[in-house]
Subunit: 477 residues, 2 copies
């Protein structure tokens, strides 16, 4: 028997709904917490209580002890990393999914979760322009999607790996640009290929993979008897949201029979916006693609959509049916498409979100975010005190404060100080990267609750903080 | 801007809380749905709507179109596979977690989620008797926990793998019993070791790994120049919940310097119950162990707790910090302990559940489930029409209908028919396995809402259904 009675459950759910509603509306709290490392943990007991505690007390403690250490990803002025904000429809869907507790390893263990997953991935794939030849499966994260893509590519290149492993497989090679996400490195590590099998291809001035350099690397490897196994192209790289030239990369992959995986974890949803859809040109020819609704599609963390033209290869790599999981029906069983046996009912939230917003409603919001990014980029470009360090094809602006009199190192330090100072205010949260070895600030737009006023606030804060930093006595600088 | 206003959010949350409360109370609905493969999908549109839809309509459609295809894991008479039921505290925690949308890749991206994860895993580890030397991290599933355990073991055996991959690593070997879970096979596949590197050790009459057979296999491999890399022992195997003799296995692993991973995904929580804690003897000496609160600890799917004595090995295998994720603080960053960069706020539900129930409240419930299993086993043992096919150390009873006059194949068919017939009633849901090549029914106790009356109902249904099957005209049998 549960500890909470039905009456108590309804009462606590109502209290929680109120709290959540207030929380999502409150844009005055600091975006980042002021706690020091270890502070939250030190405030909590070392052992669980033996006796049941009252749920009201637990929620009080949540507010008192845990909220002070939260970073508010749903805050309208969270501009760090990539956006990841959750919509009301998505939050309600997760509430429901936790109660239903579907575990869709087999069709029979949840026909609805199994079939809704196929349905909503069909919706999403179609909405971003992928052809019906792509089959979809939901994983938790893009790291796991890309891992499965490369596992499938490995299996396609060396089918005997299933029995024999990599020992006699020869030297395999994976290619991505020097701007590709670290999840490619991690996948290569896990797959037992070793980092030396990963070839990082240089980029052009706009941070896009240089296709002629890729071609040269592939040719060199082929000549040396190495085996090109996969190319990972990115639509929306992590540092700058640059978009690799997928069309010529697809040509190259087709010519050489190399698996093409597209990392559209961030940028893939741009396909929903008619005037941005050209950024996905060539993706329809990929062998696999990952798109993360939990980034820029208002879906509570986690939901990574993996699309694959050759899902049978993935199934060939992983399908294993022990007796205790055998079932009589001839059905698609999601456990066959990967390493994870259990999978929760993530499709429900995407279904509710796509219906609650409609594809046009989603596209409108993405369009506005890109417009805000353009607006911010224009402010940077118009200012003598700042410069932009990369093109802004989507929602992220890469920039820095500019001081012609400063050497490279001092300028880096100024920008690091600027970032630290504005983040310390709690008014905004931005992150950074390095571009051509220059310390670079990143302003990422895409939160569901972000308005042009928030962008304005951030800009004014940057200008004022920079002025304040420059007015410091020389000894400090 | 979100589509749901705050007022609408509260209204819909209240409706959902009512629905959930009724849902969890309702034990009259069939445990399994009556839909045919493809039926749910066919009832849904092929494309997402363009325009926003009313949330009330969406919830209506949820009830009308999706509920008919749910398998009710939270139903008191869900006796299949392993239990996986969600408590009210866990459901409410997931509601909150979806709203907070914490993404704890770095300490700074959620100090609370990072530190609460360490805290509650400390609570759980201590509660089941693991020493403080174990550090914990939360993954989604046991498959991913075991994958990371074996990745760490591989790195410990061949540190140069990080750069060079497996090509020159020699022949590695992983050992587990022939009753171990298929996740071990999948991990071996993904890691690039190939299935031939997995050695399945035979079991004794009680389905426990035979240590002398393990010793012999290891010796033979060493003699042949192969490299024993890891042993996976299981506390609570999937078919019968048998418990491998971890103490002598730990001795052996220590002697040979082999990584010992314990799969306690199901059985690990038994450590909470004083009179069952002996089943975990030896686990304190493992290098790593997985325990899944989402199985038998009333935690909504997903939450797999991974405990490791040598987390620095895992970090050595996977840590990678690209510039865009660098932060100044000297802090533990959860992204360093695995493949997944993003991780959601799973610790919150375990914190709420352990407080709401108290360790004693949790132990009471587990104890009652085991007692119900013992009671069911006693009914089987006392019946002339049924026989038990394995010991019942925890909450799962393996049994079959017995007919001395039937040949092996006919008896298998009778039991398959019996299983199909009782599952078709919708009154209960049981699954099966094969033990010593005999078709075996599995009755898994452990649902939060299961009562002795439910066990009684199941038993009566089995007896009556068997009688009915035996009364069929011979032509049908």
């Amino acid at each position: 028997m549960d500890v909470l009675t039905p009456t108590e459950f309804r009462r606590q759910a109502a209290r929680m709904a109120d709290w959540i509603s207030d929380y999502l509306e409150d844009s005055n709290r600091p975006v980042t917490p002021g706690v020091r490392p270890g502070e939250i943990r030190a405030s909590l007991p070392q052992a669980a209580p033996e006796e049941p505690e009252d749920f009201t007390q637990i929620l009080d403690d949540f507010e008192r002890l845990l909220v002070p250490g939260l970073t508010h990803w749903n805050h309208p002025r969270f501009f760090a990393y990539f956006p990841a904000s959750s919509s009301a429809a998505g939050i309600l869907a997760e509430f429901l999914a936790a109660a239903l507790n579907q575990q869709a390893m087999l069709w029979r263990t949840s026909p609805t979760a199994t079939e809704l997953e196929a349905t909503v991935l069909g919706w999403l794939g179609r909405a971003v322009g992928l052809p019906d030849a792509f089959e979809g499966v939901i994983y938790d994260t893009a790291s796991v999607s890309t891992l499965h893509a490369l596992a499938a590519a490995r299996h396609a290149a060396v089918p005997e790996i299933r029995q024999q492993g990599l020992r006699e497989a020869g030297e395999l090679r994976v290619y991505c640009s020097d701007q590709a996400h670290s999840s490619v490195d991690k996948a290569v590590l896990l797959l037992g290929l070793g980092l030396q099998s990963l070839v990082r291809i240089p980029v052009d001035d706009d941070f896009r993979m240089r296709v002629e350099a890729l071609e040269a690397a592939v040719s060199e490897d082929l000549l040396a008897g190495r085996r090109p196994m996969a190319v990972v192209a990115t639509v929306g790289t992590t540092s700058t949201t640059s978009v690799d030239p997928v069309v010529p990369i697809a040509d190259l992959c087709q010519r050489h029979g190399i698996w093409l995986h597209v990392d559209g974890a961030y940028g893939g949803v741009a396909g929903l916006v008619p005037e941005l859809a050209h950024l996905l040109a060539g993706c329809e020819r990929a062998d696999s693609m990952v798109i993360n609704p939990h980034k820029w599609l208002f879906t509570p963390f986690d939901l990574s959509a993996f699309f694959c033209r050759r899902m049978e290869v993935l199934r060939g790599a992983f399908s294993l049916v022990p007796e205790y999981l055998r079932s009589a029906e001839e059905t698609p069983n999601l456990m066959d498409t990967g390493v994870q046996l259990g999978r929760r009912f993530r499709a429900l939230k995407l279904w509710m979100i796509m219906r609650a917003f409609g594809t046009r409603g989603l596209a409108d919001r993405l369009r506005r975010h890109v417009a805000m990014a353009q607006d911010f980029a224009a402010r940077v470009d118009a200012s003598e005190d700042f410069e932009r360090l990369a093109p802004t094809p989507l929602g992220v602006v890469c920039f820095r404060a500019l001081r012609p009199d400063l050497e490279a190192e001092a300028l880096d330090r100024l920008n690091q100080d600027l970032l630290d100072a504005i983040n310390r205010t709690g008014e905004v949260f931005l992150s950074h990267t390095r571009l051509r070895n220059r310390f670079t600030l990143r302003m990422a737009l895409g939160g569901l609750r972000t308005t042009p006023q928030d962008v304005q606030t951030c800009w004014e804060l940057l200008v004022a903080t920079l002025r304040r930093l420059e007015e410091r006595p020389a000894a400090d600088s």
